[in-house]
Amino acid sequence: MSDIVLEGVSKRFADHAASDQIDLVIPDGKFTVLVGPSGCGKTTLLRLIAGLEDVDEGRLLIDGVDMAHTAPVARGLAMVFQSYALYPHMSVRANLGFALMVKRTPKAEIARRVEHVAKMLDLEKLLDRKPAALSGGQRQRVAIGRALVREPKAFLFDEPLSNLDASLRTQMRFEIRRLQQELGITAVYVTHDQGEAMTMADNIVVLRAGRIEQVGAPLEIYRRPVNRFVAGFIGSPQMNFLGGPHAGRYDAATIGIRPEHLTVAADGALPCVVRTIEHLGSEALIHAETGDGSKLIARVSENLQVAVGQNIAFNVDPGCVHRFGADGNVIPEQKSDI
């Protein structure tokens, strides 16, 4: 299969840089997720890799060959679009086989590959239907199937699950991940949902304003974010940020504490007042406010007896404080050896 390597890739639109000097390695056979807030350039990056947008600067190496200015089809990549983009006037079978038909693949071969993919994705009964007669989830599978049939070097996914309802989304996450692992094909997946990124990725790329903020495995990014933005973007509920005297105590401009790292203690270091409690059943989220107005969210057990308006105090689990300097970057932990 293939590595995809981007070197210094940039793309400008009229008034801003959608991608700014991107250097990125997308490892072979792994599931890489591009994640970030709206407008961060993740979809642009995907489209640059696909060849649907032209690169302004930089090199795009697929299997070691610079394809920055090659037509999409020659790159050997397949894309699953957000709106599925199925051909409405063709049956599912014709949709799946279109790319092969365009290449003048012999009919028998087309039929074989289409049947194979249909079986893999449980589409066999739907082969003669038109897209309008399919449900959202079915259309999604046809879109994936269309990409699969081409036996591409890599899969590109553009937020394919955002048009599905919540339960279907969770189910499809597993399906896509399972498929990718079984086939071992390189996958690049774009989403704005950090939860999706965490559960699906081998490798997460966090983007903001056209630049890469951090690249790493999910747990790595979760535990060791390199700056305030990544720390706040990954993790739900969001990391707690405290400034002022709280941060000063740790020699930082801002400190970050994940909600699960706050423990209720009678003599805790952070005294607060309980403002709201969210009961999730499996756990509770306490929204509290410190004396100087800073807000905190803590994850606690449902067994804890707390009431709104009550005074409460938290301790931070040792070693779980993220320290950030004034520039937003994390202050590396000082080792004890001097």
Binding site: F13, A14, L52, E53, D54, P72
Partner: protein, 297 residues
């Protein structure tokens, strides 16, 4: 009136040249047939050019325009053009709106209703004019005469007493389907939930119409006004076939036609042509502004 947002380029810059080639023939034809002839028109309006008299094609400056404006038929023609425009717009939009709102509430037989209402649009103008003038409006044997006699009223001699109104009726009849369909389509995209929320809030039907429906319809009405105005300025056949022109029913287009075809005075006719073009642009702009502003108030 909106154009869908033109998308930015997307990886197909090599198509730019082909795009230009593809557009060229259409643009060329329009330039040759629509723009190019304007030049001679302006030129002729400035010279002495009469087909019957063997004149010397001298440059006479604004003399033609002078003769045009002082021609006793000129101001009436302008007035008639405006009247026609106003009458046709008013009738066709009012009737069209009423019809659209009625059809909007009907569920059964909507297809047949549409069929009935749409028919006048596809009738060619000479046919429409002759049917109305003879079978309907003729004061002795026409259908309207019979209908008014049933109600005990006398027959109206349409073309003798109200020629311009008669023509306006005929033209408005042909445009009612267009106005009705445009407004009906727009009504059907009108969010029902908005209407229901207003009803729950206790708004009367009239209030809902005035504050919710009408603003929603402002844009389609403006479109109807603009499109009808564009076509109305060249109104010709209905006048030609019913009254053959004349002081009371000449519009600008017919005035020009009669100057050219009947009096062979190219110079003056060209001047009128230039005036017509300027007039058309002003009229269209004014109409849209007027309608747009008053409805959104």
């Amino acid at each position: 009136m909106s154009i869908s947002t033109v998308p930015t380029g997307s990886g197909r810059s090599y198509l730019r040249l082909q795009a230009r080639i593809l557009m060229a023939p259409a643009i060329l034809l329009l330039v040759v047939c629509a723009i190019l002839p304007l030049l001679p028109t302006i030129y002729y309006s400035l010279i002495d050019y009469r087909l019957l008299a063997s004149t010397s094609h001298d440059f006479v400056g604004a003399a033609n325009y002078g003769r045009l404006i002082t021609d006793p038929g000129f101001l009436p023609a302008i007035g008639n053009t405006l009247m026609l425009n106003g009458l046709v717009l008013t009738i066709s939009i009012l009737v069209g709106l009423g019809m659209a709102m009625l059809i909007d509430r009907v569920i059964v037989g909507r297809g047949l209703l549409r069929l009935l209402v749409i028919s006048p649009f596809f009738v060619m103008p000479p046919v429409a004019a002759l049917i109305w003038k003879n079978l309907l409006m003729q004061p002795v044997a026409g259908l309207f005469a019979w209908v008014s006699s049933v109600f005990g009223a006398g027959a109206v001699d349409w073309f003798s007493t109200l020629p311009l109104v008669s023509i306006s009726l005929i033209v408005a009849w042909q445009w009612v389907p267009f106005a009705c369909l445009v407004l009906l389509t727009s009504l059907q995209s009108f969010d029902r939930e908005q209407r229901e929320a207003a009803e729950l809030d206790g708004a009367s039907s009239w209030a809902i119409f005035r504050y919710l429906t009408l603003p929603h319809l402002a844009r389609p009405i403006a479109i109807v006004v603009m499109i009808e105005t564009i076509f109305l300025l060249s109104l010709f056949a209905e006048i030609y076939v019913t009254t053959g022109g004349g002081r009371t029913t000449n519009n600008l287009a017919f005035l020009i036609y009669s100057q050219v075809m009947l009096q062979y005075d190219i110079g003056v006719a060209s001047a009128a042509g230039v005036v017509a073009v300027i007039f058309a642009n002003i009229l269209a702009l004014v109409m849209v502004r007027l309608v747009g502003r008053s409805l959104e108030a």
